[in-house]
């Protein structure tokens, strides 16, 4: 049980896909304009991670080693298509906001990376927790970045104004603000790491 807990928590801090492994940055930067988008993206990616991890760990004995990557991609793409159709049906607003970044979950390095590095070698239950941990870690990182960007860029978080009279810094709602925030955050993490050693 403790091992499973470890599989779950490692994705959140020690091997955080965004800040430590620097994987899957494309959607992180693109959809972090607002916290609502970030949560939507995080949930979608977590769903795909969970589904593909489970199926791949179940099917790992049937997949010939030589064509495993194409097989992984087909499995991942299936889950992406499911989430795409669900979004279109139940939340067209979110679907429009996330745009092309939903289909792009297919080529998100985190998903394929976990399939290749973990799910195809481990059993169902640890793959499930690994996928869940990575998904939650990704979602938390997204929420952190988007909270910074939404607050600075519009003075609000989830539509609530925090400080009255704060002049929003529009640049943080723009692509260059996203790059700046992620650059400074990565620098901050390095600084903390350097201090520790």
């Amino acid at each position: 049980m403790r091992d499973l807990f470890k599989e779950f928590t490692k994705g959140i801090i020690k091997e955080n896909p965004t800040f430590v492994l620097a994987l899957g940055l494309c959607p992180t930067l693109a959809v972090s304009v607002s916290v609502a988008n970030a949560i939507g993206m995080g949930v979608a990616a977590t769903f795909v991670l969970l589904g593909s991890s489970v199926i791949i760990s179940l099917a790992k004995n049937f997949i010939p080693n030589k064509i495993r990557i194409p097989c992984f991609i087909v499995i991942i793409a299936t889950f992406v298509t499911i989430i795409e159709l669900c979004l279109k049906a139940y939340s067209p607003v979110l679907d429009r906001a996330l745009g092309i970044y939903v289909p792009l979950i297919v080529v998100n390095c985190i998903v394929l990376g976990r399939a290749e590095a973990f799910a195809c070698k481990n059993n169902l239950i640890s793959s499930f927790f690994d996928g869940l941990g990575m998904g939650v870690g990704f979602t938390l990182a997204l929420i952190l970045i988007s909270a910074i960007r939404e607050f600075l860029g519009s003075g609000q978080i989830l539509g609530h104004t925090l400080i009255k009279g704060f002049e929003p810094i529009f640049v943080f709602g723009m692509p260059s603000g996203a790059l700046l925030v992620i650059g400074l955050l990565l620098g901050l993490f390095n600084l903390i790491k350097n201090r520790k050693t």
């Binding site: 940055l25 795409e84 792009l104 260059s176 990565l186 600084l191």
Partner: protein, 202 residues
């Protein structure tokens, strides 16, 4: 189909919505390979070639296979597979026909299979140039041209970045910011400067 449309596709995909600096596609190789100009150029050439080829193939598949059989929801799945197969095919053809070219950018081709810029361009073409499941007039040419221009934008950002990062090797950069963080900060300033092109009208 007119020349102005092509011009605005050019400006918007190279500068305003630059594939790296504004759409954030293909960031991983952008920060990983942009340290050396030669490698950066080879990688960008490979990406431009594959994006253009993928734009052609995915458009044909969407228009003549997926739409007539009402299979548009298989877009993501089929595009990913087709792009992977296409990259393999290009790699084999280049290896057989031109060993020189293969040595120049062959190794980057395998990396491109899961490059989000390629799939992103394909999906974007479909989103922009198909309205309500019908191709807009000139859709095929726009798609191919837009794919090519996104490749050009990728090349531009890669080259500028690699030039800057080669110079930074000589600079006394704060240790916490070395490599990744600084690459993002530079990209941010580049993105700010490219904003000068926003709102282009001819």
């Amino acid at each position: 189909m007119n020349i102005q449309e092509f011009l605005s596709i050019f400006i918007s995909s190279v500068f305003i919505y630059n594939v790296i600096l504004s759409r954030f596609l293909g960031l991983c190789p952008f920060v990983a390979i942009s340290k050396d100009t030669k490698q950066a150029f080879a990688m960008s050439a490979a990406v431009t070639f594959v994006i253009t080829a993928a734009s052609i193939v995915t458009w044909l598949i969407y228009r003549f296979l997926l739409l007539p059989f009402n299979l548009a929801y298989l877009r993501t799945l089929s595009f990913v597979l087709v792009i992977a197969a296409l990259v393999q095919l290009i790699e084999m053809v280049i290896r057989k026909t031109s060993p020189v070219l293969y040595r120049a950018f062959g190794i980057y081709l395998t990396l491109i299979t899961t490059n989000c810029a390629v799939l992103g361009a394909a999906v974007l073409n479909i989103d922009m140039f198909f309205v309500n499941g019908k191709a807009v007039p000139g859709s095929f040419y726009y798609s191919v041209f837009q794919g090519f221009c996104m490749g050009l934008g990728y090349t531009l950002a890669m080259l500028i970045m690699s030039g800057i990062r080669e110079r930074l090797e000589l600079c006394n950069v704060p240790s916490a910011l070395k490599n990744f963080p600084l690459a993002f900060i530079i990209a941010s300033i580049l993105s700010l400067s490219f904003m000068g092109f926003s709102g282009f009208k001819f």
